[in-house]
């Protein structure tokens, strides 16, 4: 199976690889997936006082598409308010990276990681987590 140029680009030059201080109340961490499934994503966001994401970092165990999906997600998150970040849809990632059907789960995982990071931030700051009503196909 051939990867798209964008997947190869993100895979070869992943953006925003790294770790934020997960104990900080300004940092939200989302850890999704499972080693047994061959995909684990950790996505972290740094949020300022205006609820704007000022930094995002990731580390991913997984295939090229999983790495590219999380790398792209961190690019998109930076500068977004957490409300707008909540609206990122996995299909946007599929489209941007031209993921084939067998790799759609990588984008689902990235969306889950974004939501998990935001909810971690919310809970840390005394807010209720937002339940995802979306049903993935």
């Amino acid at each position: 199976m051939a990867y798209s140029d964008k997947v190869i680009d993100h895979y070869t030059n992943p953006r925003n690889v790294g770790t934020l201080d997960k104990s900080s109340h300004k940092v939200g961490t989302g850890l999704v997936g499972a080693p047994e499934c061959g995909d684990v994503m950790r996505l972290q966001i740094q949020v300022d006082d205006n609820n704007v994401i000022t930094d995002a970092k990731f580390k991913t165990f997984g295939c090229g598409s999983a790495i590219a999906s999380s790398s792209l997600a961190t690019e998109w998150l930076k500068g977004k308010s957490i409300d707008d970040a909540m609206k990122i849809d996995n299909m946007d990632i599929v489209e941007e990276l031209a993921l084939p059907p067998v790799k759609i789960h990588c984008s689902v995982l990235a969306e889950d990681a974004i939501k998990a990071a935001i909810n971690d931030f919310r809970v840390k700051n005394g807010l209720a987590p937002i339940a995802s009503e979306k049903v993935h196909h």
Partner: protein, 403 residues
Amino acid sequence: MNIPIYLDNNATTPMDPRVLEAMLPYFNEKFGNAASRNHAFGWVAEEGVDYAREQVAKLIGASDKEIIFTSGATESDNLAIKGVFEMYKDKGNHIITTVTEHKAVLDACKHVEKLGGKVTYLPVKEDGLIDLAELESNMTPETILVSIMYGNNEIGVIQPVKEIAAIAHKHGALFMTDATQAVGKIPVDVNADGIDLLALSAHKIYGPKGVGALYVRRKGPRVKVTAQMDGGGHERGMRSGTLNVPGIVGLGKACELCGLEMESEAKRLSTLRDKLQKELTVLEESYVNGNVEHRLPHVANISFKYVEGEGLMMAMKDLAVSSGSACTSASLEPSYVLKSLGLSDDLAHSSIRFGLGRFTTEEEVDYAIEVTKKAVTHLRELSPLWEMFKEGIDLNSIEWAEH
């Protein structure tokens, strides 16, 4: 050195130019049907087939009359298992095999189960070898066939074939082996090993794709299989269909070359393989899968913990290797062979199979070592699991959300 480097010789091998040369005349000038008994075109083709039959037989210590040409090892496995079941079902309906067999054997066995057969799938030990005592304890008066592979395609372990044959025979069963990965790589002798049926394939031994053979013992005991392909009664009635003369000639030549060069090749390849393995296991948390003493000379299957195989292969794009991970399959199931060794799913996902071959050079192996080391290091920098491991977090203590 040409990039990419081919290190997937357990999947298939490039054809040896000497094999191609032997085949070429049989496409045009010697195009006859080997079954045409009444003219020179047929005789010439038949001569080519007869010679190839001798070449194949010689490599495995058989007689030429015991070689049935097929379309490949998958067909040979099917013919052996289904054919023995049909032929001997009045004697018994039980077959014993192992969980690490190739799908051609496992699925042929599943077919037999649908026809009313009983199949025991023996587990393997952590090193990939079967437990002989367990084999013996599963033998019953109903057991007609024991089918256990010679060398494994994923991890390269070599089963104790001689001992397995002895147990099968002691209990009145036939012994069949899928020797696709072993023939031409290590000495295989049907008489010394006690093999009654043996499947082999040309394209794993530098021959063409689409041709293989089934060895069927003729003496002590005389073994018969019921044909699975009906037609003109070719191949002593066991496999109908016009013979693939160029392919068969190629298989014969490939066998001849293996017979001549196998011993020195095995030494050369195991030296290169050991170098690769030694260098790559210098990396932290890397493990060789399967028994390393009873192993084919050209294979190394290594798990690099905390990196995922498919992602790793992408970073090794200059190398053609294969992974036990199956991220693209709908089930996301990693290799059943590695899992049957007791490997956890994450280690199975982290495995890479290196398969060296006749045309692999030391320069290529050195390059492969360098590329793999870089790729593993790169991906570990990206891996949250590696970071957790380095921080001393027990990954089993985390509640993962399986998806």
